[in-house]
């Protein structure tokens, strides 16, 4: 079973809920090694996205839904996360093309495109203590799951699991990109807020897909 545009919209709405629920946690993570706005930024962006989904015509395709999310986040999030997540979603939208339904392989490919977009924009490598440390293993896990015949929900679930681990792996790292890098050695022993939000977003997608029984 694939994921229709309704499924994508539901996943985006569930992401908005999760980001709002974890707003304070993300702010606090960013307060310690950044500038205390990551949760606020994402909440502002996803809240704007939900308003758009509520008020405008429902998007016609998964790609259109992802593109709406991309442009809304770019226009409203600001900071580093706005363009990075915006680009990720834009690339994902391009990757899925005009398909009416996303299958497991399509989801894995979209995640790969998203990661490529983040890297193209942010130039971070794994180990730099950024969202890339969560997204990179997530994409690998998604691709492996898709290759082994998993469902969309299973692919996303595998991605979320890997992202959780990837986020956790940022704790000991000394940041080389983003604001935390200004702290030098003092950035070690803290979880990177962007890797945490990446893991949260993937988990919300997985649960939305699983709950919808896809």
């Amino acid at each position: 079973m694939g994921c229709s545009v309704e499924g994508v919209v539901a996943a985006l709405r569930s992401a908005a809920e999760v980001v709002t629920a974890h707003r304070d946690e993300l702010v606090e993570l960013d307060r310690v090694i950044g500038d205390a706005d990551h949760g606020e930024n994402l909440k502002r962006g996803f809240t704007a996205l939900v308003s758009k989904l509520d008020l405008s015509e429902p998007p016609a395709t998964p790609s259109a839904a992802l593109k709406l999310a991309a442009t809304t986040l770019i226009s409203t999030v600001g900071g580093a996360a706005g363009p990075l997540y915006g680009t990720a979603l834009l690339r994902a939208a391009t990757s899925v093309g005009d398909a009416a339904e996303l299958d497991a392989a399509g989801v894995a490919a979209a995640l790969r495109a998203a990661l490529d977009g983040v890297v193209a924009r942010g130039k971070a490598e794994p180990g730099d203590k950024t969202m890339v440390d969560a997204l990179t293993p997530a994409v690998a896990a998604a691709e492996a799951a898709a290759a082994s015949g998993s469902t969309v929900a299973e692919v996303l679930s595998a991605a979320a699991d890997a992202a959780d681990e990837g986020a956790a792996s940022t704790v000991p790292l000394v940041a080389r990109k983003g604001r935390a890098s200004y702290l030098g050695e003092r950035s070690a022993n803290h979880l990177d807020p962007g890797s945490r939000s990446t893991a949260l977003l993937l988990r919300s997608f997985a649960e939305s897909a699983g709950g919808g029984d896809r």
């Binding site: 500038d35 205390a36 706005d37 226009s75 600001g78 706005g82 990109k177 604001r179 200004y182 030098g184």
Partner: protein, 333 residues
């Protein structure tokens, strides 16, 4: 958190309204998206000089909008870079047909958002250039990092490039000048207290009564190093020595010295620090030809200061002295 605000969510927009009310002759404010625009924009035939970044650094950048400095400023939420929409709106409002120069403090968020906006503006037919400002010597620069932050030098770049655009320099010349000023300016800051971001409600870090944070940026983030408090002489040395060694500034150099308050440090302390810095520069045979002392690039109510030193030549002096009419800097008019 004790602040004169109504609601953390409306701080930026409420302040913009107050600013518009205070300076009707100088600027106009748009709020969706948020942009501060020179009252007489667009100025025909003039390069539009645009900057922006997170709010909380007032008077930067909105206070520098006006004749001889910025054509527009894009204020993001507190300590959060603005979105490309804001930058695009600024370009549209100020496009006088000679292109736009975006002066961007080197933070990942600012760089990415301004970059996106530049692409969009270029697609709409405006020639747009971007110059990154990265004057903070507290940050080790390297190919593999985000690079140095833009801090105090930003004010000087905006003034000098603003003057060049005002006298009619074209986009190439303005861009080259901006790069030249960036190449010759260095800064470093210290915090005595943290600041509280309104939407967070508690201080960004905590410092004991006998500690200070050296090598801070302007976003309430902790600095590079926490050290015991010292008398003003020591504090000024902590800031000035790495600045001078970095460029390096050497005997015979002519400089502009900018002694800046992080917001909560009052003028009386700033003048003490400024006097010490002047003395130390004189001891090294460096001539201070121009100075700026005051709160010009701040971190909300943070107590602390930064020093910025810019190497001068005749042209830079002339552009610094050129008339400017903004909320925060005004002379010659």
């Amino acid at each position: 958190m004790k602040k004169i605000i109504n609601d953390p969510a409306t701080v930026v927009v409420d302040a913009l309204h107050g600013m518009a009310a205070a300076h009707p002759d100088l600027l106009r404010v748009q709020t969706d998206p948020a942009v501060v625009v020179r009252a007489d924009a667009a100025v025909h035939g003039k390069v539009a000089v645009i900057s922006g970044g997170g709010s909380g650094h007032e008077p930067l950048h909105g206070g520098f909008v006006g004749m001889g400095m910025l054509d527009a400023a894009c204020p993001g939420p507190v300590f959060t870079s603005p979105t490309p929409d804001q930058v695009q709106a600024a370009v549209t409002a100020t496009d006088g047909g000679a292109g736009a120069l975006l002066l961007v403090k080197n933070y990942t968020g600012d760089v990415l958002n301004f970059e996106t906006a530049a692409e969009l503006a270029a697609a709409e037919g405006t020639e747009v250039r971007t110059v990154l400002i990265d004057d903070d010597v507290a940050v080790k620069d390297s190919l593999y990092t985000a690079g140095r932050r833009g801090v105090g030098g930003t004010v000087l770049v905006e003034k000098i490039v603003g003057a060049a655009a005002q006298r009619g320099d074209d986009l190439d010349a303005c861009e080259a000048l901006a790069r030249r000023v960036v190449a010759g300016v260095r800064s470093m800051g210290v915090a005595l207290t943290a600041c509280t971001v309104p939407h967070v409600g508690e201080p960004s870090f905590t410092l004991a009564d006998d500690e200070m944070e050296i090598g801070i940026g302007i976003h309430g983030e902790p600095g590079r190093q926490r050290v015991p408090m010292e008398p003003a002489d020591g504090i000024v040395r902590h800031l000035l020595d790495p600045i001078l060694e970095d460029l390096p500034f050497v005997e015979g150099d002519r400089v502009l010295l900018f002694t800046n308050s992080m917001g909560g440090t009052p003028l009386v302390e700033l003048y003490i620090a400024h006097g010490i810095a002047e003395r130390l520069l004189a001891e090294r045979g460096i001539t201070v030809e121009r100075r700026l002392v005051g709160p010009y690039i701040t971190s909300l109510e943070m107590q602390g200061m930064s020093l910025t030193v810019l190497r001068l030549d005749d042209e830079l002096v002339e552009l610094w002295d050129a008339p400017v009419h903004t909320a925060a800097l005004r002379w010659g008019v």
